[in-house]
Amino acid sequence: MQPFAYARPATLADAFALLDEHGPDACLLAGGTDVVVGLRNRTLRPEMVIDLKQVAELQPAISEEGSWLTITATTALAGIDEDQRIHARFPALIEAAATVGSAQIRNRATLTGNICHASPAADTAPALLAYGARVNVASARGTRRVDLDEFFVGPGKTVLQRGELVTAIDLPIAAERRGAAFARITRRRGVDLATISICCVVESAGRTVLAYGAVGPRPFVVADESGLLADPAARDGAKDEVLRQLLTKASPISDVRGSREYREAMLLVMSRRALRASLERLRAA
């Protein structure tokens, strides 16, 4: 690793000051499971690494604020798995988070870090998108909220500007019943990056939301407002039509994990399966 300076600000204000001072020469560190790899490979060459784990306002926490569940930036994926409220209300997020690396990785990697790294294949992104997550962004100049759908710009790129960081991710606590399922294709059953990933949420009112990862430059979300996908009586052929239409938004590529052709085919196969699982869980709810 190249040499760099290291700071461990105790407050958000201190963190902002460092960010404003160093701009693109600084790198934020929370769980480190992406950042330290980048430092080792020298794809990241910061002058300054800002460790957020001592920032008083960002300590790991999951809290309910009105109709939102708020997950602070330094909350590790293991912490997500240990929260009963998330198990109860956002089970597909639990499923997605459980696929990120190993137990060792999940003890460190943060939910915020996973989305800020902005890999098109980020495993938690489809689940967060399908559940309608929003991102709390803050800087010395104030705060703003960004729907997660608008947060990703492209591979490795988010809307974060100089001086900004993410303080928390919010999930809307739904009033109505829903069924959700997360699924992905990998090259082996063991720990792996996703070839494609999918999260489906079917609302009892009939709306179906589908979010996808690893099949475009950013994770994306689509919705069927017609109610057809959620209709247990609808024919498979009709559902396929709707799915195909929704999937035109996907733009998979060929890489070492899979070919474009395979990914396209799996999008339909796995969408069907995720939809079926979501409907069963909705029925059971």
Binding site: P3, V36, L39, A103, Q104, I105, N107
Partner: protein
């Protein structure tokens, strides 16, 4: 480039040291403290050979900077045995033939230790899931899993 002072507890002993920020916890343990039981393999968090416990949680030490160990407790494989005597989990690894070349074993033992601390009576599927971050090229997974199950039965 300056060093950063940290106070880190390793295997129960508190140490005040200065470390360069661009040092991983793994390098710090192996090169600085001569605790070579923790191994270096992929350096990417994919193989688990570098697994240690950080405040009781299993982590890949290759993915942590040494400076992040400040005010934390680190347990390495050396910290599991008392006076060189293996604990029951380590004994189970030996008894079940889980040790072939042995290079992945410290990481496996630490990951198993963490698993059993969270889930004292795991099923085979839970053991496989819990150890899925530890690669063994000698292919000793069946015996490793059996060892963890045996240790859980013995109440470790």
């Amino acid at each position: 480039m300056s060093s950063t002072p940290i106070r880190v507890t390793v295997n129960g002993a508190e140490r005040e040291v200065e470390v360069a920020p661009n040092t991983t916890l793994l390098d710090f343990l192996r090169d600085r403290l001569q605790l070579t039981g923790t191994k270096e393999c992929c350096d990417l968090g994919e193989c688990g050979a570098c697994t240690v416990l950080l405040d009781g949680r299993a982590v890949n030490s290759c993915l942590m900077l040494a400076v992040e160990g400040d005010a934390r407790e680190v347990t390495t494989i050396e910290g599991l045995s008392e006076n060189g005597r293996p604990n029951a989990l380590q004994d189970a690894f030996l008894a079940k033939g889980a040790v072939q070349c042995g290079f992945c074993i410290p990481g496996q033992v630490m990951a198993a230790r963490y698993l059993l601390s969270r889930n004292p009576h795991p099923t085979l599927a839970e053991v496989r899931e819990g150890l899925s971050g530890n690669l063994c090229r000698c292919g000793g997974y069946v015996q490793i899993c059996e060892a963890v199950l045996a240790a859980s039965e013995a109440g470790t």
